[in-house]
Amino acid sequence: MIPAIDAALPPNAWLPLLVLASSLLPGLVIFFLAEQRYWTRTLLNLAGSLVKLLLVGAMLWGVFHQQQYAASLPLLPGLDLVLRVRPLSLLFLSLSAGLWLLTTLYAIGYLEDSPNRSRFFGFFSLCVTATVGVAMAGNLLTFLIFFELLTLTTYPLVVHRGTEEARRAGQIYLAHTVIAGALLLAGTVWLYTLAGTLTFTTQGFVADLVERHRWSLIAIFVLLIIGVGVKAALVPLQSWLPRAMVAPAPVSALLHAVAVVKAGAFGIVLIVYDVFGVEVAAELGVTKPLALVAAFTILYGSVRALFQDNLKRRLAFSTVSQVSYIVLGVAIVGPLATVGGLVHLVHQGVMKITLFFCAGNLAETLGIHKVSEMNGVGRRMPWTMLAFSIGVFGMIGLPPVAGFISKWYLGLGGLEAGLHWPLFVLAGSSLLNAAYFLPILHRAWFCEPPEAWPEERDFGGNKETAWLLLLPPLVTAALSLLIGLFASMPFTPLEWARLIAEREFYQP
Amino acid sequence: MSSVLVFALAGLGLIGLGLYGLLVQRHLLRKVLAFNVISSGIFLLLAGLARRAPGAEPDPVPQAMVLTGIVVAVAATALALAMMLALRSATGRTRLEDHGDED
């Protein structure tokens, strides 16, 4: 099951570049499109996302069949910009490529008739470009570059509305990410001066340095983890995330499920596995504090979510909590926990994006922004709330939705590593999840609807909402059911995560 | 003790006096005068020291340099004076304003 790397085959440089170009070029063209050229823009968007999906599919197939994909561009003597597609990259890559398509569809429907759409979709595409760049990064420098690009391209999306509130949220987002970026840069350069290389390597590239530079390595680890931890919204670095909720719903979906938060979590995975190597990290004694931070974040996010009446803020705190599952899986040193963490990278994305799509639909169709306004909404918008419910069950971890798989592996992983406290964290978090999500479902399905919704829009013909708004959450909800039900089939996230974990732990 | 040394010292003195004037005086015309005094002092050092080998012909290279320097100083003075007059007609002042940062 482990595809051996066959050096005889020359790496294919075109596919990684095309994956970047498939969103970069449409994005650049879209910037120059006049506002009213709706169809050209839509065509470009969809064509770009479809092409990207196909390319990623091709690479999935290829990597499975021992093809190599790599491209590089010299930046400095001895330091290249390297794109290399590895199984871990593909996990993230397929998630973002797939969800980008759906989010684009959703955004087209969501932003209909609103101003500055060319600008929006331009940055939207650049943002995805940066994300796939992060996914395909072959060394820490490349990762850093695309990670910073991600900051830059999401900022215009956060402040897109142009309100004073949006401006403030943007400043706070930047203040967090830029400082984090500086720390990441510091850690990266420092590491480079010690190790002389930054190439991501299975089981890390610093093992030789542990003896002489133990404390420097620990400091570097802390710098790097803080650097990416801001985007992953680790407590206490999470405060930008709820504020960034001022952005339009597709942006929230993007931030939480596809790009920013995920890139942060992915970064932690890379740093632990491919920079330090999980065993070296454990030997340095840095994984345990990381696990504790993750555990605390899981509980903190859940508790805070309990007290939010604003639906999107509740979802935001839920994200804070859920993303740290990934970190927890990484920080509990062991193959099963790794599988749990990695698979949650995908699962959380699919489930959380469903919830955000639904929240956006509620806001856009009925003007509902608060939990307390959701009485009986299930009768008015049954399909939306069905998707929402599936997402919620997944979040809580009920089988057979995908979230169950993640928690199952995380729990097993904890036990495998001889730890019991992760189980309690997981159980506690699940209870809290239920406590803040189930009341919503109760209101939506079992309470009487009010006389009138806060701000209802008519989409004609007694429709629930625009089909472009309805389709994406239904698809993602179905997906989260399917990847849970058929988790053991080939090419599912679970199988892929197993493959990665096996390499990290069992390869000589 | 030779006349060259006397004039070298005088050159130093001119540099010092000119610097003092440039830093202390506020009227722009005086600052321009001070700049010219500094220049003269430097020229005196530059070409004066060329004479320090007794008896020999003076070194023509520093002399040529000083000639160039004098012309440059005249040009600079002309520009500075014109600028001072323009400043005066725009603001009525012949001094530099310290807080010109904000409009």
């Binding site: 930046l75 500086a182 840069l185 350069v189 420092w190 | -």
Partner: protein, 497 residues
């Protein structure tokens, strides 16, 4: 293939094309617009020719008049000069394309802009090419006088005040430099840098010369605490002039200081040679922090950019302490990258500010009023330039900071590393302060004047240049090494040719 023109011809063209173009623009003001752009294109061509020649044949030395140093004046070119010449050519072309659009509303200013700017360009190119200390003095004076006259071009009270101060500072700086030249000539009997490098010895003469020359050049380069004249001058000049002053003029005096340090003074040893780099590094660090904080506090865009220049100058001086024993090359190359990136990026930012000024009639940051929507190209230029200034990847500024950090970490100079990082964070603060307001509408919607496309595109292309500089290492790296400017004195290498 034998080239029609050799390196000496390209070097000659670099000085004489702008000089003759300046005369032509003065003679025939009506044709100045296209003459200026034509000259800019020719200069770029000559620069590329020179770069090509250096890459293939190594460093260049030309004896003007055939006399040769020490009797005559020599021109020289190595990687260090070529890199700065290239930046000058690119920024110069950008500004030359931009200027006719900007000055369309001020024909009187335009008429004087061209000859003054082309003379400034003559001085810049001449300065980078000169190997003769006294010739460099004359170049410095041409540079200073034309820069001050250009600053005064706006004719406003603030502009004249700033220009007057700038002129006096500049004259004082050149005078101090000349004093050093006088001492060196009488101490060692030549003003050729390479020959001096061989003859100079530690002692009172060299020390005093170093101190007065450094003081004069620091004054011109506006390193903290000599920065007082810079923000008003760069903030009040016409936008294309601000771009030239910030991007090019201060680089020239910095280059000269660097050159003197590398070729004359760094090898002297002794207490001063050990202490001065540290002092410059400390001042540089202070400039980074102080300039950035001041930039954050500004309410007017051009002043913000000007204070940003104060901060960016600081980075250049971090190279002095960091170019210690081990990481010598890396630190200087970092400084060069930062200087080039700052040139391109800052020019783009000032030109963008000029567009916003022309568009809105003011440059108050809080009233930018949806500029991002109404002038997207300009804002893009501003942000791309800002990215390089912040040192975010991928950009020339990023490469520079990376190298600087590498050098700092290798030597365990944590303090400098922290300053570099903090400066980047603060820069992000002031750049995005502007961007944030550009996304936000003001309460009363404001009308804007049309901004010609040539003004928008020239700013944008310069900003792209700053970004692309981040990918330039494959050819820039070897170019910087031509003649080994950061290692042995150039004379020993250049004598071969």
């Amino acid at each position: 293939m034998p080239m029609l023109l050799n390196g000496a011809d390209w070097a000659t063209a670099l000085v004489f094309v702008p000089l003759l173009a300046a005369l032509a623009c003065f003679l025939v003001p009506r044709a100045a617009d296209w003459l200026g752009v034509l000259a800019a294109l020719l200069i770029l061509l000559a620069t590329l020719g020179l770069v090509q020649d250096l890459l293939s044949d190594g460093p260049l030395r030309v004896a003007v008049g055939g006399w040769g140093a020490p009797l005559g004046i020599d021109l020289w070119a190595d990687g260090l000069s070529a890199a700065l010449l290239l930046m000058t050519a690119l920024v110069g072309l950008g500004v030359s394309v931009y200027a006719p659009g900007y000055f369309a509303a001020h024909p009187q200013q335009q008429r004087w802009f061209w000859p003054l700017w082309l003379l400034l360009w003559t001085a810049l190119n001449g300065l980078y090419l000169s190997a003769d200390l006294f010739n460099l003095y004359v170049m410095l004076e041409v540079l200073g006088l034309s820069a001050a006259a250009l600053t005064a071009l706006s004719g406003s009270a603030t502009g004249l005040n700033a220009a007057m101060r700038y002129l006096l500072v500049s004259l004082l700086g050149s005078a101090a430099y000349l004093l050093g030249v006088a001492l060196l000539y009488h101490g060692y009997g030549t003003v050729d840098i390479a020959l001096l490098g061989q003859r100079i010895e530690a002692g009172a003469v060299a020390t005093t010369a170093l101190l007065v020359m450094a003081a004069g050049l620091l004054l011109k380069t506006a390193l903290l605490p000599f920065h007082f004249w810079l923000p008003p001058a760069h903030g009040s000049a016409p936008a294309p002039v601000s771009a030239l002053l910030s991007a090019l003029v201060i680089k020239a005096s910095f280059y000269l200081l660097l050159r003197l340090w590398l070729d004359l003074f760094s090898g002297l040893g002794g207490l001063l040679a050990a202490l001065l780099p540290e002092l410059l590094g400390l001042l540089g660090a202070a400039a980074v922090l102080w300039g950035s904080v001041q930039a954050l506090r500004q309410r007017r865009l051009k002043l913000l950019i000007a204070y940003s220049t104060v901060a960016q100058i600081g980075y250049l001086f971090l190279g002095f302490p960091l170019a210690g024993v081990q990481a010598e090359e890396v630190a200087w190359r970092a400084v060069l990258y930062l200087a080039l990136a700052h040139g391109l990026a800052k020019a783009a930012m000032f030109l963008s500010a000029g567009n916003l000024l022309q568009f809105a009639g003011h440059d108050r940051i809080a009233d930018l009023d949806r500029a991002v929507q109404r002038l997207p190209l300009t804002l893009t230029a501003f942000v791309l330039g800002g990215i390089s200034i912040m040192g975010l990847p991928p950009s020339g500024g990023f490469v520079g900071k990376w190298l600087l950090l590498e050098s700092a970490f290798t030597q365990g100079r944590w303090g400098f590393a922290i300053v570099v990082l903090l400066g980047g964070v603060l820069a992000a603060g002031y750049v995005f302060k502007v961007v944030g307001y550009a996304f936000t509408p003001t309460e009363i919607a404001q009308e804007g004047e049309a901004v010609p496309l040539r003004m928008q595109w020239s700013a944008l292309l310069l900003a792209f240049g700053a970004i692309l500089l981040g990918f330039s290492a494959p050819w820039l790296w070897p170019l910087l090494g031509v003649g080994d400017p950061f290692g042995l004195p150039i004379a020993e290498v250049g004598a071969a040719r």
